[in-house]
């Protein structure tokens, strides 16, 4: 059992939990992920690591309630326990030789983009960030991003904060002003990463995208996380989760991610009803 040491809502739908997992904390690097199970009957859900503290022995992940399992996780209070927590899995973000980087995050993906930005900042790279949200009320980690970046562009789809439009608008502006990015790193919804990659391709900037496909074990065993990268099949759990954004077959990946859509919809409704009944 793994204790949730702190629990901090970042916006009405997004929560950060800090979990006591000393072995994972010793090794965790930005870009890697963990898999957790809320209870004995729980499914194994992967989350990218958003922060870790080897001294305290804790690892933080940020989640948005999107289905039954995250709904369940949302009901575990601070001081409560989750059944399983394993990691760190996958390969860390590659940082070597990168002096100037632009990080493009979308929605809850920004939770994962942040530790990557922080890492580059600590390594002394020039860090530019474009972070996008639907609307002002759900912006997360603004201060943290500000502290970790040399330049921060916030985008909202509805223009209620920062610049109006999606992240590619802000990215294009930066690409026009800066022709010396060593790399663009994009983390967020697949459709966003697809368009970010299309744009950076136009500008000829190397791009890395962080994939979060369906998976079970996270160690290379199930093959559920297959991603086509440059015509080759890769396992996101062991070969990734970060891949060359210009080579990923996003359409295939998006389709594969919808495999259990109907099941998840129903399970989520059932879980919500269950929790509503408990409240009554």
């Amino acid at each position: 059992m793994y204790k949730i040491v702190t629990r901090r809502p970042l916006n009405p739908a997004v929560t950060m939990i800090e979990v006591e997992a000393p072995y994972v904390a010793r090794k965790a690097q930005p870009g890697q992920f963990i898999i957790l199970r809320v209870d004995e009957n729980g499914e194994r859900i992967p989350f990218t690591i958003s922060d870790s503290d080897p001294v305290k022995g804790t690892v933080s992940v940020i989640f948005q309630v999107v289905g039954a399992s995250t709904e369940k996780l949302n009901h575990v209070p601070e001081g409560g326990y989750i059944h399983d927590f394993v990691g760190p899995l996958g390969r860390p973000t590659e940082t070597e030789g990168i002096k100037k980087v632009c990080i493009v995050g979308g929605g809850v993906g920004n939770a994962i983009a942040y530790p990557v930005a922080k890492k580059f900042h600590e390594l002394g790279a020039e860090v530019h960030c474009v972070i996008g949200f639907k609307t002002k009320d759900i912006i997360i980690l603004e201060e943290e991003f500000a502290a970790a970046s040399d330049r921060l562009v916030i985008m909202t789809d509805d223009g209620s904060y920062g610049l109006h439009g999606n992240v590619t608008v802000g990215l294009e502006q930066l690409l026009q002003e800066n022709d010396d990015y060593d790399e663009v790193i994009t983390i967020g919804p697949m459709i966003m990463m697809k368009f970010v990659s299309l744009m950076t391709k136009k500008y000829g900037v190397k791009t890395v995208a962080s994939m979060a496909p369906i998976m079970i074990d996270g160690t290379g065993m199930c093959g559920g996380c297959r991603v086509s990268v440059g015509g080759e099949t890769k396992f996101a759990c062991v070969d990734g989760p970060e891949f060359d954004g210009h080579l990923i077959d996003y359409d295939e990946a998006m389709d594969r991610s919808r495999t259990y859509f109907d099941f998840e919809r129903k399970a989520y409704d059932d879980a919500c009803n269950l929790f509503k009944m408990e409240v009554k």
Binding site: Y23, V24, K27, R37, N41, G42, E43, R44, A68, S69, K72, H83, D84, F85, V86, G87, P88, L89, I216, D217, G218, T219, G220, M221, C222, G223, G224, R226, V227, S228, T233, V238, D249, D251, E252, D255, R256, R258, T259, Y260, F263, E264, A267
Partner: protein, 462 residues
């Protein structure tokens, strides 16, 4: 007087049409009367060819003689001298290509049902309340075992009985390895595996789940700051193989590992399980091994129509005979001598709609001694399917190798180890599928046992 009946006592089983809708064990086990009758078929011959056919050389005629004498615990003790998991092996060993293959009774008629008798003895033993095992006197030495499948469990048990402080590190959240995530409940009830693991815990073995060695901790850390005197790698062969044909990443194409893990480890077949599983209408399983049979029978139980596609003929199916028979009885179709060449999506979709196959014929024997399947040009045809399961075998996971300095592997990714399990790295031993690539439970067990002996010998000599 031996019983000279030519045929084995048949195994009582659930009716095919009932069992293909549930996950209860298919084979129900011999009654005492059947076991006595079957045991009496053993001639107790001098040559004992069956013993040579057993990978761990169980004294088969001796345990059968104990059954005849109605001393079932005595029979269990004899099996236990050589096998750590009799209840498991009695169920999953390919007896027809091991002990029973050499049985003298098999020359005219059917061999003695050795596997069925082994299972009977183990189930008899397990049904009786056993006194709690006492912890052996500690010898002050610590061994780490990586992986809790058959080879890891065996190695851990052997060492614990000798007084070693043993910790098993398991990557998944439940111990048991392939016995838990791979082999379905209807073939090997998980309660049997749990019982074996509980037995090890009584001996003092610690089981640490959620520990991915190579990620969470490294082999060098186990030997260094964690103070283990030796490490046994029994991490199995978990990496699924694919065919690398067009369409393999379409929605609806899975590895057998994924389907089996969802069902067995995650319990996705149960109503109300959190882990989803696809309920297909028509499933094609590619492959002819035990894993293919397991995947096919699981898909059937999920309500799908199922066809197994295998490139050789029935005689070459590598699965246990019994699994093939069970699969057929349960209504699984076999499309033999054909091989997928492409997986096709539906129009305007990225989900599987059909599999294009090509007919094969058998040519000259290949390196494995089996006749090599050769494509018949122009014989392509399509089979409709909304689910395709690839059961083509597995290879060892590179995670430990890639994070352990000085650990040699062969070109198939198997860890290089001598017959007693010593790897190229000091204090590191390996065995089971991690060394050989996917093989059988009994071979993995034998390797775990041999390595335990070597570890004991080497550490005692220090």
């Amino acid at each position: 007087m031996p019983n000279m009946k030519m045929t084995k006592n048949p195994m009582p089983s659930q009716e095919p049409d009932v069992r293909n809708k549930n996950y209860e064990e298919v084979a129900l086990g011999y009654t005492t009367e059947m076991a006595l009758d079957e045991a009496a078929r053993c001639l107790n011959c001098k040559n004992r060819p069956c013993v040579g056919g057993c990978p761990v050389n169980i004294r088969i005629p001796d345990f059968i003689a104990k059954i005849v004498a109605q001393d079932f615990e005595g029979a269990y003790d004899i099996i236990s001298e050589d096998s750590a998991l009799p209840a498991v092996c009695g169920r999953v060993c390919p007896q027809e290509s091991q002990c029973e293959k050499f049985c003298v009774r098999g020359i005219k008629g059917e061999p003695v049902g050795i596997g069925r008798l082994e299972r009977f003895v183990a189930d008899y033993h397990n049904s009786k309340e056993q006194p709690a095992k006492s912890k052996p006197e500690p010898n002050g030495k610590k061994v780490a075992v990586i992986g809790s499948g058959p080879s890891g469990l065996t190695c851990a048990g052997e060492l614990a009985r000798k007084g070693y402080e043993v910790t098993i590190f398991e990557a998944l959240h439940t111990a048991g390895g392939v016995l838990v995530y791979g082999i379905p409940e209807f073939r090997l009830p998980k309660s049997i595996v749990r019982k074996e693991i509980d037995g090890l815990k009584e001996l003092g073995v610690k089981v640490e789940t959620n520990m991915v060695i190579g990620k969470t901790l490294s082999v060098d850390e186990l030997l260094g700051e964690f103070g283990f005197d030796a490490v046994y790698i029994g991490s199995g062969a978990g990496l699924p193989q694919f065919m690398h044909i067009p369409g393999e990443n379409l929605r609806g194409v899975y590895s057998a590992n994924e389907i089996l893990t969802r069902i067995n480890l995650m319990g996705a077949w149960r109503d109300g399980a959190d882990t989803p599983i696809a309920h297909a209408k028509s499933t094609i399983v590619v492959g002819g091994g035990n894993v293919a049979m397991d995947a096919a029978r699981c898909a059937k139980r999920l309500g799908s129509d199922v066809t197994i596609v295998y490139r050789r003929s029935e005689a070459e199916l590598p699965a246990r005979r019994e699994e093939v028979e069970h699969a057929k009885e349960e209504g699984i179709k076999f499309s033999l001598l054909c091989n997928p060449v492409e997986i096709l999506p539906g129009e305007g979709s990225r989900s599987v709609a059909s599999v294009k196959c090509i007919r094969m014929e058998l040519g000259e024997p290949d390196a494995s001694g089996r006749r090599r399947p050769v494509e018949i040009p122009g014989s392509e045809f399509e089979i409709e399917a909304d689910c395709v399961i690839m059961a083509l075998g597995t290879s060892p996971n590179p995670l430990i190798k890639s994070t352990t300095e000085g650990l040699e592997v062969n070109r198939r990714g198997g860890i290089v180890a001598d017959e007693e399990g010593r790897s190229s790295k000091a204090r590191v031993y390996a065995g089971g599928d991690a060394v050989t690539g996917s093989a059988t439970v009994i071979l993995a067990m034998g390797a775990g046992k041999a390595a335990a002996k070597a570890i004991d010998k080497d550490l005692s000599a220090e």
